[in-house]
Symmetry: D2
Subunit: 301 residues, 4 copies
C-alpha cells in the first residue's frame, strides 16, 4: 500500500441518506486523478455519524465503483473488539482489501488491552489490519513500541498516523525499516512532502477529496526525487487547506468546519449535489461558504 | 424516577454470549432487594463492549423479567445522533421506559452541537431522555447551563451524573428545583448519602449489583430523615467498594478492574455463573480474586 | 486545623502593587466574621500572578494583622521541590503556621516523584505541610493511596482538596479516620455542607472573602448538628456564587472571571479600593459588574 | 537566528549546586562543534527545577563563557506576566540576546490573555522575545493565528516549537514567509531534516548536548542542499535518541528519563562530572546507565 489514498467523503441527501450518484461521481473524480487507493468510512467520511445501514451502503457502492482498479480500505470504527469485529465482517463480505481500526475508545483502557484488541481483530478477520492513530478522537496515542510489536508479529500491515506527531512518525518509520510489507501512512494534509521525505509509504489527506490532482502530483514529484516540485505543490495545497478555517469555531466544532469545508468545495465544484453534513454537525453559513469559494478561486484546484 | 437504580451488569458465557439464566438471577436478586428501577446497557453493563445483538438480547430479557415492577432505562450509547436514534428505536420497541444518552463522542464537538444532538434525540423518540454525564468516557463535561436549558424545554427528563463533580451536581440540583418531573441521579458509589442530602432524586451505583440491600437501606434511611444511619451504611459500602482496586492498574485499565470486581463478587456469591468480561478487558488473577473474596467476607453484604 | 479558612484575595493598586490598606481591611472583615484560619497565597490570592516581592509582602502584612488570632497557612506554589523549598523558607521566616504545596507542575512527573517531592519538602521545613490537590492547575490528581501513605508517615498534616471529586474526598476522609491531627479541607464553594457531613475538617471557599459570615454560619450550624440550617445557608451561598459566571467565557479565562468577581464584589461592598486583577487577566466590563451588583443585592451578604 | 541552538543542560554537583567547571566544559564542547547559538534555562536545562539563584548563575556563567561568539537565548519560565518580566529583567541584566517565554500556565487561561501576556512582555523588555510552544508542560497549544498576529506586530521575533505538531509548524512557517527577521525553530530531535526542508530556521534539540557535531553536520548538509546526507545523519541521531527510553517509565517521569539520559551520556563521555538531576527527579539505575552506554558505543558520537 502506498501513494495517495484519499479518505473518501460521504455525500448525503437532504434527507440524510447516502447520495449514491454523488458518491460515484466523487469516486470517479478521484480515480481519474490517479489516486493509489481509497479509504472509505474514515473521519472525513463521517463514519462516526453514519448509521450502520449507510456505512454498509457506502462500502458496497465504493467497492463496486472502484472495481478493483485500486485497493479499498474500510474504516471499522467502533468502541471495542467485538463491535469492531462485526464491522470488519461487513467489510470482508463487501470485498474490502483491508480494514482500519483504532484502539478501544469510550472505555478506560490500557496498553495491554490495546495490544489484545489488535491481536484479536487480526486473528478474527482474514484481511490486512491497519492501526489508526487518532488521539484527538480516541484519546489514546498508540506508542511506537506497541506498534512495532504488532508489526513484528504480523498483526498489523501498517499504520495511518493522524496524530500530527512528527517525531512519533519518524520513530515508527525507522523502527519498521526493511519491512516492505508494512506501510506507514500520514493523515496530515500539510506535511506530505516531509512525510514522504522520511520514507512514509503514502498519505491519507482529507483535502485530497477536493484536489486529488494536486496530491498525486506531489507524490509523483517526490517519487521522482524532484523535492522542489513536491514542496511547491505542498505549499499550494497548504494554502488551499485554509478552507477548513472558514467555519467559525465559536459556532461549531472542528468536524463541522473541516468536513463541512470539503463538502462545500466539492459542491461548489459540481462534484456532489448537496454539501450537507450529518447531525449534530452545524452547517456553514453564507459568509463562510463565500470564504471557501474565494480560496478555491485563488489557489485552485 | 427516584431511588436506587442499579446499572445492571451483563453476565456473559465463556463464549462471550449473554448468559440469560445468570442475567435473570441477577435481576431477581436486585428486585428482591427492593431497588426502584434498573439501568441496562450502561458502562457497568459493558455496553461499550457488547455487539448490537447482545445489547438487544439484554434489553429483551431485562424488560421481560422486570415485567413492569420497576422502570427500566436503556443506555443508547453511540457516537452521534443518528446512531443513538437507531439504538433508541430498538429500546422503544423492546419496551424501555426511558433512554440514557451521552454527548457525541469520538468526533470533535461543540456545545451548540451537543444541544442540537439532545434536541434531535428528544424529538425523534417518544420516550423520556436522560442525559448521561460521563466525562471520563465522553471527554466532554455537560455544562450546568446547557442541562438547565434542555430541562426547561422538556428535552430531557433528568441527568445521570457520573462526573464525580460534586459542585456541578449541586448547581444542577439547585437550578432544577421545583421541577418534580426532573430527576438528578448520581452515578457515584461513595457519596450517595451526600447526594441525597443535596436533594438528588436517586443513585445509579455499580456496586449496587453486589449489595443492593445496602443501597436500598441507605436510601430508605435518608428518605426517613435518619441521616446517621444513612452515613453508617454509606461508610460500610465505601469499604466494600475497595474491591474495584483489587485489579493491578499496572496490568489493566479501570474497566477491567471495576466491572471485573463486580462480576467476580457476583460469581463468588453464586449469582452469576461466570465472571468473564468482554474483550479486550484483562481478567483478574487468583491473587486479585482472593483480595475481593476477603473484602466481601469482611464487610458483607 | 478546622472550620472556615478563606483563601485570601490579594487587593492590588492600579499600579499592580499590593494594596496594604485594603488587604488589612479585608483581613479584619474576615476575622470579624469569625473565620477559623486564613490561607494566603492560594489561587484566589492570585499567587500565580504575584512577583516574589509581592508574595513576601502579602505574607508579612497578613501575619502581622492576624497577630496569632487564627492560624495562617501560606501557599508555596512553584514548579518543583527546590523552588517550593525557597518559598517555604520565606513562609517560615514570616511566621506562617503551615504551608500548602502542590505536586510538581510544568514538568512531566510520576507518582514516585510526587511522593519524593512531598517527603523532601516535609523534611526540609519545620512546618506542617498541606497537600494542595488542584488538578485544573497542576494537571495531576493526587491519588488516595499516595495521600494516605504521606499521612501515615507524618509527611503531610492535611489536604486541601480542590479537585471537585466528591468520591475521592470521601475515600480520603475514610482512609484517615481516627487521625485527629490530619485535616481534610474542601476547596469547594457549593458543597461545604456535604463535605462537613462526610466529616471533612473544614472548607477553604474563595467566596468566603465576599461572605465570610455566611460560611461561618454554615459551619456552626453543621457543628451543632442543625443540618437543615446548614443546607439552607449553603443554598443561599450557591446563589451568591453565580457572580463567578458574570464574566463572559468568550472573552476571558476562568481566573479572570472568578477572582475578578470576588474582587468586584469586595469593591462594591467598600472593603477593597480597587478591583483590578494582575495581568494578563482580563477586567470585567460594566455589564458584567452590573450583573454582580444585582446578585449581591438579591442574595446578600 | 538560525542553525543548531542546543538547549543547554545544567550540570549540578552532588549538593545540587550549579557545577560551574562542568558547565563551562559543556559550553566549550558545544562551541567547538560549531553550534549557532545557545538556549539556556529551557526544559533540558532543568529550569523548572532550579532555584532563582541557580538560574541566575547559569545565565552569568554561560554568557561570560560564550563571550559573544554566538547568540545566547534565556528561558524565562514562570507562571504569568509579572513573574516572567522579573525573570526577563534578570536575563537582560546578564546580557542575554533574547528571551524565551511560554503562555501562562498553572492558571486557567484564554487566547485573549495569552495575547495580552506576550504583548506586555514584549513592551516591557528591550530584547527579542521568542514564544515557546510546549503543550506537554503548559497545557495550552499556541495557535497559528495568534502567533501570526504577534509576529506581524513585531511582538515576537520567533517561535520555538516543541509541540511535535508538524502541521502546525508547517502552517506557521508558511504564514511567516518573507519575514527574514522571524525565526521558526523546531524543538524536535527526530525531524530536524524535515523541519529544515519546510524552511524552519533552525533546531533546538536536547540531544545536541550529547552530539553537537552530528546536528551541525545535519544542518550544514541541509544548507548545502545535500538532503540525502542530512537524512542519513538524522537517522543516526534518531538511533542515538533511543537513550531517552533507557529509564523505566514505570519508575519515573519523562523528564527524569530524558534529561537523565543526556546527563548520563555527557558524564560517560567525560564532559560533566556528575550526572545528577534535580529533585524530585528519579536517578537512572545501573542497568539503565549500561543501556545508555551501549547505545553511545554503537551509534556514536
Amino acid at each position: 500500500l502506498h501513494g495517495i489514498i484519499p479518505p473518501l467523503c460521504t455525500p448525503l441527501t437532504a434527507g440524510l441518506d447516502v447520495d449514491v450518484a454523488s458518491l460515484e461521481r466523487l469516486i470517479d473524480h478521484l480515480l481519474d486523478a490517479g489516486v493509489h487507493g481509497l479509504f472509505v468510512l474514515g473521519s472525513t467520511g463521517e463514519t462516526a455519524f453514519l448509521p450502520d445501514r449507510s456505512r454498509h451502503q457506502v462500502l458496497q457502492v465504493a467497492i463496486a465503483r472502484v472495481a478493483g482498479q485500486v485497493p479499498v480500505l474500510a474504516g471499522c470504527i467502533d468502541m471495542t473488539t467485538l463491535r469492531v469485529l462485526d464491522q470488519a465482517e461487513d467489510a470482508l463480505k463487501a470485498g474490502a482489501d483491508g480494514i482500519v481500526a483504532t484502539a478501544p475508545f469510550y472505555t478506560r483502557t490500557h496498553p495491554a488491552e490495546i495490544d489484545a484488541h489488535f491481536r484479536r481483530i487480526g486473528d478474527g478477520i482474514g484481511l490486512p489490519v491497519y492501526a489508526y492513530d487518532l488521539p484527538v478522537s480516541v484519546h489514546t496515542k498508540l506508542g511506537t513500541a506497541l506498534l512495532q510489536d504488532l508489526a513484528r508479529d504480523g498483526v498489523i500491515a501498517g499504520v495511518k498516523d493522524s496524530s500530527s506527531d512528527d517525531s512519533g512518525l519518524r520513530a515508527l518509520i525507522l523502527a519498521t525499516r526493511g519491512r516492505p510489507d508494512f506501510s506507514v501512512l500520514t493523515g496530515s494534509e500539510l506535511t506530505v512532502d516531509a512525510a514522504l521525505w522520511m520514507h512514509a509509504a503514502g498519505a491519507v489527506p482529507g483535502l485530497a477529496n477536493v484536489d486529488p490532482v494536486g496530491y498525486v502530483r506531489l507524490y509523483r514529484a517526490a517519487a521522482a526525487g524532484d523535492w522542489t516540485a513536491a514542496a511547491a505543490e505542498q505549499n499550494r495545497l497548504a494554502e488551499l487547506f485554509e478552507i477548513v478555517h472558514a467555519g467559525d469555531p465559536g459556532r461549531m466544532g472542528g468536524s463541522s468546519a473541516g468536513v463541512g469545508a470539503f463538502k462545500t468545495a466539492l459542491h461548489l465544484r459540481g462534484i456532489i449535489d448537496c454539501p450537507i453534513t450529518a447531525p449534530p454537525q452545524i452547517p456553514l453559513n453564507d459568509t463562510e461558504i463565500a470564504r471557501i469559494a474565494d480560496t478555491l478561486h485563488r489557489v485552485g484546484p
